[in-house]
Symmetry: C2
């Protein structure tokens, strides 16, 4: 699982994979455009030009720009939940699960950088109520997975006392804020950063009292 | 220092203080409007209407909307650096300084919630190069203050080994991400959240090996 993810993850950075699925191609290209220019400023005309197709070729699959936005967010979230879920399920002990959650989330973020930027930067939101509900369900599922790991570690006594909600928020804050400063392919990988964050919050900053 | 900050900080939440300074009043009201609607969607006409003045009354102080935006960002950043700097300087030991940095940052964030949302959410950026440089200087000053605290703790052996850049990033990620979920006046104060984050990263999650 982990090695397969890394090999696809690293090769996909920067450019969308050559999908046969035109819907998927539009979503990938739109994510790159929205991430670069911002959702408000980007137009379907630019998107069509960048893809070498007519605007009608895009309208055939998506009636509005908002529909493409919704597809980006739901695609990113469902992929995140699936991929991190598989990595976590491959572990038994809570500390291993926490490490897998953080590193797999970071790997997925780097491989899907544009979609994350569109999702986590800016004011736009999903419009259709049923899709918004689906997006919130996926986000909650991701957060619940993390809290369950913390709960397990507390129950088993491998984690010291702590509020699972606070720990979960701290972990996701560190991972999510990466959209604001991390640049794929420049310096450390997102996974390396996540490992350092993981060491910090598991071991703590204080030196043992001598 | 800390008590003076708390008393002004808590009372300022939600509504701008009654400033005699019209520039400052415009900045406060604009921050509230931009935070609510987004910078792009908000107009100077709405701002004037909300303040009960004419658009000319705003143009008298700020030639464009962008100038107000720049004033919001520089005001928030310089106040943050000053207030956190004073709180940190009042401490001697590195662990106390780290605690003061985190709690004072959180208090200032809650008291200046709208300005933080404008600064940290959305795509807009400061336009004039000299103001952008000033904003980056202030941001770097804040981050350097934090890294110096970590360095001091490592030098004195109270902090275990760790990369000061990573620790600094982790701390600021947790504090900055609060713009995305924290609501002033609902539930815990920002300072209480910051204290829990502080305990997590100083003590660490792992239980001592028995």
């Amino acid at each position: 699982m982990a090695s397969a993810t890394t090999s696809t993850g690293r090769s996909r950075m920067g450019r969308p994979p050559a999908h046969d699925n035109p819907r998927q191609r539009i979503v990938q290209q739109a994510a790159a455009l929205f991430a670069q220019k911002g959702y408000e400023a980007a137009s379907l005309g630019e998107l069509a030009a960048a893809m070498g197709v007519s605007k009608a070729g895009i309208y055939h699959y998506f009636p509005t720009k908002q529909h493409i936005y919704d597809a980006i967010i739901l695609g990113v979230l469902s992929g995140l939940v699936d991929q991190v879920g598989l990595a976590v399920q491959a572990c038994q002990a809570a500390p291993d699960k926490l490490r897998a959650f953080m590193t797999e989330h970071a790997r997925y973020f780097e491989a899907n950088y544009n979609g994350f930027v569109v999702m986590l930067v800016g004011f736009s939101g999903i419009s259709a109520p049923e899709l918004k509900q689906e997006a919130m369900r996926l986000r909650d599922q991701h957060e619940r997975m993390l809290r369950a790991i913390i709960d397990q570690g507390l129950d088993e006594g491998v984690f010291a006392s702590g509020n699972p909600a606070t720990v979960g928020r701290a972990v996701l804050s560190m991972l999510n804020w990466m959209v604001r400063w991390f640049k794929p392919g420049a310096g450390q990988s997102a996974e390396q950063v996540a490992l350092q964050y993981h060491d910090l919050i598991t071991r703590g900053l204080m030196a043992p009292v001598r």
